[in-house]
Structure formats: structure tokens, C-alpha cells
Symmetry: C3
Subunit: 142 residues, 3 copies
């Protein structure tokens, strides 16, 4: 079994502010990420998928199929957008931290997986989001 | 136990074309990677090896020994070569996809492991091959 | 559960020489890393920590708390220092290989963990040290 990791980029902005906390608590928790008008990042998204090798093709995962899924379900809605106002999942109470962005990405990929991949394989193994050169977040799904 | 990852580079070219498929099927499956005269990549190969620390030396793996193994069994035969014509494993039916290149690398390292490493440790943990900045493939062996 | 990886840098110098070995053995084992006056590296340290998401904050790990721990226990003592003469753990018999530096970092983080993190979570998952662009060492703690 081979694991394939595909790397995508998108630019987006967000503001970290939780409706469950007071203004003072939000400033203490999120620091400058709580500034009122949001700020942007050049996000790097890595999606890791694994599957057994097909003997004829020498491949375990169709990368064009994975690209269609990620482009259609994630990049098209996220790139050059303001999470807090443009992405439905974050319009209410969900704070667009990298951790929550990863959860939303996983939900979207899983819910639409069978549109591009049939059968038991390949399966989603891990999603990683690099917010800055100093911060990387990972959600392992297997 | 510490895991040591050593990074190597080689430039090589390949053409993806499976003898089990028709010309039309090959074009659909591999896209521009099926173009008749091949194309090149600056591959980045990472080999991860783990072993218990030796108390005297403070090391778990002899990096010069690992380099000898990888240079002699992989880089010398792959660097500045055309996989389809120059590397024996790919002369017949095996398509030089990154997945299959990883399998060949694993076979070569495993078959010659005891020439440079004696005893139970260190052991090969993982081999990763970066084909482009967007694609990375991993074969985990432990 | 989300894994957060935070990246730090420090510049330090070391000489690899084991008191358990003869001069000849040291030269053979460590090569140019045994040269008498030491040599420096721009180390890259990655610390991975995991914890369950807090529903209100959308975060699993307080990055400012992690930074306080790593800055206070590691970077302040290591940056722009000579391991063999400046860092207490290496003044006697411990050779400042990357493997041993990782062990010292783990000891320091673990011993002071509860000063910044209370409760069962987050926990330390992995520490990685990149000595050069070709060498990376990892100590997995979970």
C-alpha cells in the first residue's frame, strides 16, 4: 500500500472570535488574531490518501480524481475568501481556527468521497494545513 | 529509539505507458505523462531508518553506511537515467510510476541491507519519493 | 484530536567526541564532526503536540503556552551556544549528537510540562530536529 500526498494552496482570511467568550476573553485567547477586520494567510493544504497498487497502472490513487474532489469541495469555496463571511460552516458559531477548518475540510471530502472514488479504496489518511511557516495542523483520519 | 531521515536527490526521466492497456486507455489514464518521448523530474528521495541509541556513540544509525547503501543500490543506477530504458526492473512490463519506483527501491535496499548493517537494528521504516512539489509518495515498511 | 506542529530555529555549535573511544576511533566514527574546534548548524526544531478540540475556542493546544515552554526550557539555553561547553547535560560524557540533543529536549519539556499545561491534555507527540537539509532526526513520544 502506498500513501500519496497531494499539495494544494489557497489564500484566505479569517478573524478568530468566539461568541461563547467576552470581548476581553477573546482578546486574551486569540491575541492579534482577534483584530476586528481579519487577516490573511497563504494556506498550504496537504491531503494524504492510501490505496493498494493496481498492477496494470502501477498506481494506487487517481490523482486527477483527488484533484477534482479537493478543487470542487474545498478550493473553489475557500480560495480568496473571508471564512467568517463567505464559508457557510463559519457563519454562525464555529470559529475558523485551523483546527476547525480541518474538520470542515474532512466533512466535505468524506461526504463527497464516493462521487469520485468507488469501492473500499483509496481511503483518506490525513489532512494537514499549514497556516504559516511556523504552524502546521494535522487531522489523522486513519 | 530515534528515527533518522536522510534526504537524497536524483534527476531521471520516465514515460508512463502500460503494456496491459490500449494506446487510448494509456492516454486517458496517464495524460501528458504518456507523451512518447518521456519527461524528467528532480526526484527527492527520503529514507527513514530507526534504531536504538548506542550509549557510547550517541547514534542509532550509521549515516555513512546508509549513504553507501543508497548510493550504491539506488542513486548510481537512477541518476540521469531514463527509467524505461536504463533500469532493468522497468525494461519489461513494470510502469515507472512513483509507486513502482518506491517498490524497486525497497527491494534493492532490503536485498542488500545486511551488506552494510548487521544484527536486528537499524531497520528500514519508510521511503518517500517527491516527484514534484505537489506530489509525494510514501511506502511504509514498519 | 488535532496535532499541532510548531517550528523553531536555533543556531548552535558542537563537537562529536566520545570519551569512551580512542582518538583514532573518534575520527573514524564521526569524521569531520570530530574536528577539534567544533562546527555550527542552523537547527530547525519541530515540536508536535496533540489534544482534543475545545468547542468554544476551536483550539486543542495553546500555542503561546507551548512557545513559553520551548523558549524557556530549550531555545534560551541552546541558541548561539556551544553544546559541549555551555549546556550542562553535555559537559560530562554525553556526546551532543542530534539523537542525544533530542533526548535532552524531551527531558526538559517533560519535566516542565505541567508548569504550562494542566490536566491530561495536550500531550507531547513527537520532537524532530533538522541538523542540515539532508539530515532529520525524530523522537516519537506517543
Amino acid at each position: 500500500m502506498t500513501r500519496v500526498t497531494r499539495r494544494y494552496k489557497f489564500a484566505a482570511s479569517h478573524r478568530l472570535n468566539s461568541s461563547a467568550l467576552s470581548d476581553q476573553q477573546n482578546r486574551e485567547l486569540y491575541g492579534k488574531c482577534n483584530n476586528p477586520y481579519g487577516h490573511g494567510h497563504d494556506y498550504v493544504l496537504e491531503v494524504s490518501v492510501a490505496g493498494p497498487l493496481d498492477a496494470d497502472s502501477g498506481q494506487g490513487v487517481s490523482i486527477p480524481a483527488l484533484d477534482r474532489l479537493v478543487n470542487g469541495q474545498v478550493l473553489r469555496d475557500f480560495d480568496h475568501k473571508y471564512f467568517n463571511a463567505d464559508v457557510p460552516e463559519f457563519l454562525q458559531d464555529l470559529v475558523p481556527t485551523s483546527e476547525n477548518i480541518l474538520r470542515v475540510i474532512e466533512d466535505r471530502l468524506s461526504a463527497n468521497w464516493t462521487k469520485v472514488f468507488q469501492g473500499d479504496w483509496p481511503r483518506l489518511e490525513s489532512i494537514r494545513l499549514q497556516e504559516t511557516k511556523r504552524n502546521r495542523f494535522e487531522l489523522r483520519t486513519h
